[in-house]
Amino acid sequence: MALDQTTDPTPNVAKRSRDEIAKRAAADIPDGAHVNLGIGLPTLCANQMPEGKEIVLQSENGVLGVGPRPAAGEEDPDLINASKDPITLLPGGAFLMHTDAFVMIRGGHIDYALLGAFEVSEVGDLANWTTENPKFPPGVGGAMDLAVGARDIWVLMEHTTKKGQPRIVERCSYPLTAAGVVKRIYTDLAVIDVTPDGLSVREMVPGLTLEALQAITGPKLKVSG
């Protein structure tokens, strides 16, 4: 699907900021869940965890029970998350050797992994590790391990590229991280479930029409319910 957009198709819409996407996704994490936050946008969830729930965040460098970012001046260079940002540790948290952090991930012990993405396909294929630019080395990190190992994969990303091209596509153009793993997508415009019957819109930001959302989404969307 090639778009040639010279104007924003969603001009009067209250798009979610990156922090708001993170907060929206975090709100859906069930109480008591063990969750890994991928580097980049998902990491912001750690500062946006819902009140009244106890959620255990894992960071694959070897931390279980990640707390919010420390106050300025309180950072400890030995206490960081997978994005290399300073974190805190909650009471009940534990430090792990790296290999054991991936026992948790690959072994299916993590309930949710919230990941960034370049593209997600209508069947839940995930592309988030390389754009194949020969001048820039690819970085896979723990993306493939998480995509395969965590029970549910949620993607957090902007709905389109900077040029307005859809990131939710019929078929990923970039190399896959894993096939058919994404269960839900949180963007600046909507929350979309990947179901066996296709993409199902759970929620749109105020002022957005399904038509406008469809215009910047590759595969056919339907509305939940």
């Binding site: 255990v56 026992v103 072994g107 299916g108």
Partner: protein
């Protein structure tokens, strides 16, 4: 709502165990054996069990009692016969129990593979011996290996020293043995401890089994 894995009764601790389940039982010799949990399983009633345990019970308590009641169809074990393994010895001599004998390190590593989501591994242990009969062997870079598959549990019964409400565990000395790997390898892990501590009281550098591997804890 706070996570709270501490349960108040043995019934709750054991929960629903189906006939035919695979149960991992921690302990080496008497150290780390969750005798009360095994008695809980006895009371729960599940039968036709496969039990994975380094030893096959001592005397007529714990695993010995489970065996004596005819509840175990098959035992996976490295060293069934120890001084006092009277019930197992009788059942074995009578041909009334299946034994899968596994080299001790292989048993541990197979459980870890299950916990770590691996499909199996190649081990140099047992190559060319009776215990490798029927198993695939493979030459890798000039050395012979045997293919070993993961060994997962439906339930792990683990003895530990102390826990907090998240299920974080510490152990006592050599009673640590199979607890950590069995907690990783089972769908449901139930732990008996001597002490419950407040969340945050266990040093994060010292927690041996993080609560992510634990489902229910009972203090005895």
């Amino acid at each position: 709502m706070a996570i709270d894995k501490i349960v108040g009764s043995m019934e709750e601790a054991i929960g629903a165990v189906k006939d035919g389940a695979t149960v991992l039982v921690s302990g080496f010799g008497a150290a780390g054996v969750p005798t009360e949990l095994v008695h809980g399983l006895l009371d729960q009633g599940a039968k036709d069990l496969t039990v994975v345990s380094n030893n096959a019970g001592v005397g007529r308590e714990g695993l010995g009692a489970l065996l004596a009641e005819g509840r175990v169809r098959r035992i996976v074990c490295s060293y069934p016969r120890t001084s006092g393994s009277v019930v197992f010895d009788e059942l074995y001599a009578a041909g009334e129990i299946e034994l899968e004998l596994v080299p001790q390190g292989t048993m541990s590593e197979r459980m870890r593979a299950a916990g770590a989501g691996l499909g199996g591994f190649y081990s140099p242990v047992g190559v060319g011996t009776k215990l490798a009969e029927g198993k695939e062997t493979r030459d890798i870079d000039g050395q012979a290996f045997v293919f070993e598959k993961p060994l997962a549990g439906d339930l792990a019964l683990v003895g530990a020293k102390a826990a907090d409400r998240w299920g974080n565990l510490i152990y006592n000395k050599s009673a640590r043995n199979f607890g950590p790997v069995m907690a990783m390898a089972a769908k449901t892990t139930v732990v008996q401890v001597g002490e419950i501590v407040d969340l945050g009281d266990l040093d994060p550098e010292v927690i041996v089994t993080p609560g992510i591997f634990v489902d229910r804890v009972i203090k005895l």
